[in-house]
């Protein structure tokens, strides 16, 4: 996959979105990622959006869709690295990423994935969520 750099890190996959991707490229990424997740079957996927300077409604929807697809394929998903200005604009626009997990950067995202994929019961206790 020359177009989209995907790193395998232990049981996880890391994919980074580039700045100013066209709509077609984003859809291709969704397609490629689905294939790769089916092939490699990672426990978790980190989607790094730290290069994205804008997230409009199309990107917001697509990111949300990608996360849902990966979860359907059996892996946990964390979206990491949203820039502060992007977060403020996205929220003003009214876009939500749904119930996708988010983290500040790749490091914390990795930590989250590790915790999430440890065991389901210990997770519920740790996060205080039911």
């Amino acid at each position: 996959m020359e177009q989209f750099p995907v790193l395998a890190v232990g049981d996880f996959m890391l994919i980074s979105l580039r700045v100013d991707m066209s709509d077609t490229q984003v859809m291709n990424l969704q397609d490629e990622l689905s294939k790769q997740v089916t092939l490699i079957r990672p426990k978790g996927v980190l989607i790094d959006i730290s290069s994205l300077e804008i997230v409009d409604s199309f990107l917001g929807r697509t990111l949300s869709d990608i996360a849902k697809i990966v979860r359907v394929l059996g892996a946990e998903v964390v979206i990491v690295g949203m820039q502060a200005t992007v977060a403020m604009t996205t929220v003003e626009l009214g876009i939500t990423l749904g119930s996708v997990l988010t983290a500040l950067n790749v490091n914390s995202g990795m930590g989250m994935l590790r915790m999430k994929t440890m065991s389901a019961t210990s997770l519920a206790a740790a996060s205080g969520r039911s």
Partner: protein, 135 residues
């Protein structure tokens, strides 16, 4: 109010969309707009330009750099020659998040800019003019 720069860019393909986004940001940087202001404007332009391409059958974007004694501004007018919007008031209400698929995002875009003007004639097309000012 003086017009310092005036350029019309096509809006037919997705590479046009990318070009317009980049142009808006490039115009804004030297005028002293901060990153948040740039992001808001570029995002609003992206929303509206994408609508023009996807639902408006294509059109053009007119970029204007304005200045007077007190402030500078960037104005982008997105024009399409599509079916037009029947009910503008309804279109301004945030509806896309309910999965309507129309992706109008007009109300949201309005919140990202200082001035928002819209004209639409069913059967003739739509013209949306958005402006951001820098004091």
């Amino acid at each position: 109010m003086n017009t310092i720069r005036d350029e019309i860019m096509p809006l037919q393909s997705e590479s046009d969309l990318i070009a317009v986004r980049q142009a808006v940001r490039t115009w804004m940087v030297p005028e002293g707009f901060n990153i948040l202001e740039q992001t808001k404007m570029v995002t609003a332009v992206s929303e509206l330009a994408r609508n023009a391409i996807t639902y408006g059958g294509g059109g053009e974007a007119r970029l204007l750099l304005l200045a007077d004694a007190a402030r500078r501004g960037i104005r982008v007018t997105i024009i399409d020659h599509g079916v037009g919007i029947e009910d503008i008031t309804k279109a301004m209400v945030d509806g896309y998040s309910t999965g309507s698929g129309l992706g109008l995002g007009l109300g949201g875009s309005k919140r990202l800019v200082d001035e928002f003007n819209i004209w639409s004639e069913p059967g003739q097309g739509t013209r949306i003019e958005i402006t951001r000012w820098k004091q």
